[in-house]
Amino acid sequence: MIEGLPALYIFMLSAFTGYEVISRVPVILHTPLMSGSNFVHGIVLVGAMIVMGQAEGVLQLTIGFIAVAMAAGNAVGGYVATVRMLEMFQHKPKANAEGAK
């Protein structure tokens, strides 16, 4: 079980880690990084699956279904969007079109 003081420690250290990891990011990467961290909280899928696995009755199952579907959407959509954006930063081939002038 994670509870009490250890839980608080995990929370604090994770918060500092997040702050530290991002602190020197260039402006052009702001949007891809936002998208990337958007993908990372798609881990909520794991929680949605656990909750749905324990669900009993129509109401709980319905809410659980919504939770899993939305969480899966968060994870997959976040991933694809981030990859598409980062593909624009793949290094371009040398463009030596000097013949214009």
């Binding site: 994670i2 839980a7 994770s14 997040g18 052009i28 990467l29 936002m34 899928l45 909750v51 694809v80």
Partner: protein
């Protein structure tokens, strides 16, 4: 089995952190997201074997779960693949809203279970579930509004009379019902329902008055909030991967929101409460629109290194700072990366015709790349970056636009027509002629303050760091 799954969650959290770290540099970013993606898939698959759920192969829960995963993934995959790059921000808002909604729904299932008489895991857990639920629900409905606004479904910024007071009233109501749910023993179902309804309305009401231009900052804020909601629900479910990943996103997202607001020159408080006491004052600034935006050297370096074409506009300030050798070094580095580098020389740059050409030639710049006004001006619109160093009046667009200006009619370099303009400048003062330079206030202009030679050295270091 339980230990293996715990180990998977632990590794997932670690890889997420490393992945985010890699995503903060353009060189490693792609690797970072791919690693994080693999970790996510493994963690999800492992969850099927988690002891908390003990699924029978034939159970309705498992069947519906797989349907939900396939449905959610398919919709998101297709929409993310199809959407145009310009529409990406609202898609991020939508996926983020889904995550917030999922966190709120997790809390809903837990709270509904409690209201149906399940055993409570204690007050702390109930409070955390409620906190995560509020944050997740606000993030969900707020992101939906953000999506609608950016998509153009909802055009206007809507503001009810007494909007702020209504919001405060809503917030108080959410707190009251949240308190009732969190401390309820047993939890009453009606309280849970009203609580979620109020939280969703709050998210809508908070987002409605915010204008479209500020939306990226707001989306980033909701992103951080979703992370926090996921972390809280992680405590409820006793899931380390959710706690760590959610908290990391919560804090990095908060910092990212601040950085974005700063890059846009808009304090977050302005974004959230901008609707109050704004307007006016616009006319007072003597028709200069916009404001000066500062840029850091490594950001400027990345912008140039990943561009196709960079035009360097040196002026008297560069000569004073003796920055031409450094400038040549920067140009060579960029060319080595495949960037097309040109130098634009204004006839009066350096206040002596030919001064600049000489200085650049002395530094070893190829003559073919040094172009004068008539040759280079048509090229600015195709340039990704115009780097203005120590030049001021010769790039001031008022010479074209304002007949009352003392320099009206002077031929200028059209640096303002480049996609992005980076201006290296010692301080905020006006140029030789004492005229305010409207270029510095343009939307596509960013200021890099500092001594010419030092600033260029920092740019060189920034470009080198990318190799």
């Amino acid at each position: 089995m339980g230990y293996i799954i715990d180990a998977v969650y632990f590794l997932t959290a670690a890889i997420f952190i490393i992945g985010l770290k890699q995503m903060s540099s353009p060189v490693t970013a792609h690797r970072g997201i791919v690693w994080a993606g693999i970790a996510m898939v493994v963690a999800s698959l492992a969850t099927f074997g988690a002891p908390d759920i003990s699924l029978d192969v034939g159970s309705i829960n498992l069947q519906l779960m797989i349907v939900a995963i396939v449905a959610g993934s398919t919709v998101a995959y297709i929409s993310a693949k199809r959407v145009a790059m310009t529409d990406m921000p609202q898609m991020i808002a939508m996926y983020n809203g889904m995550g917030g909604g999922a966190a709120a729904a997790i809390a809903a299932v837990e709270l509904v279970r409690l209201s149906a008489g399940a055993e409570s895991h204690g007050l702390t857990i109930q409070v955390l579930a409620v906190l995560g639920a509020v944050i997740g629900a606000v993030s969900f409905s707020g992101s939906a509004i953000a999506f609608a606004k950016l998509q153009g479904i909802m055009k206007k910024t809507m503001r009810l009379p007494l909007h702020q007071i209504i919001n405060i009233g809503l917030l108080i109501a959410v707190i009251i019902f949240g308190y009732l749910v969190a401390t309820g023993a047993p939890v009453r179902f009606e309280h849970v329902a009203i609580f979620f309804a109020l939280a969703l309305v709050l998210g809508v009401m908070v987002t409605l008055p915010i204008g479209g231009a500020d939306m990226p900052v707001v989306i980033s804020l909701f992103n951080a909030l979703t992370g926090l909601a996921v972390a809280f629900e992680g405590f409820v479910l006793n899931n380390a991967a959710m706690i760590i990943a959610g908290t990391v996103v919560g804090s990095s997202g908060t910092l990212l929101t601040q950085l974005m607001a700063k890059a846009m020159n808009r304090p977050i408080s302005n974004v959230l409460f901008s609707s109050f006491g704004s307007d006016g004052g616009a006319a007072a600034e003597e028709e200069i629109e916009g404001s000066m935006k500062e840029i850091q050297a490594n950001d400027a370096a990345i912008m140039m290194a990943y561009g196709q074409k960079v035009i360097i506009v040196p002026g008297y300030g560069m000569a004073v700072a003796q920055a031409q050798h450094k400038l040549k070094e920067l140009g060579d580095l960029l060319e080595a990366r495949g960037v097309d580098v040109k130098y634009a020389i204004h006839p009066v740059a350096g206040r002596m015709p030919g001064h600049m050409n000489v200085l650049l030639a002395e530094a070893g710049v190829d003559y073919d790349n040094i172009l004068d006004l008539e040759e280079i001006n048509p090229e600015f619109p195709t340039a990704d970056v115009a780097l203005v160093i120590g030049a001021n009046d010769v790039v001031n667009p008022v010479a074209r636009s304002n007949p009352d200006s003392p320099i009206y009619g002077m031929p200028i370099l059209d640096a303002d027509r480049a996609q992005n303009v980076i201006v290296i400048k010692r301080g905020k003062g006006a140029g030789f002629s004492g005229i305010e330079n409207h270029l510095f206030y343009a939307d596509n202009t960013q200021m890099l303050y500092g001594d010419g030679q030092k600033a260029v050295s920092e740019l060189i270091a920034g470009v080198k760091a990318l190799q």
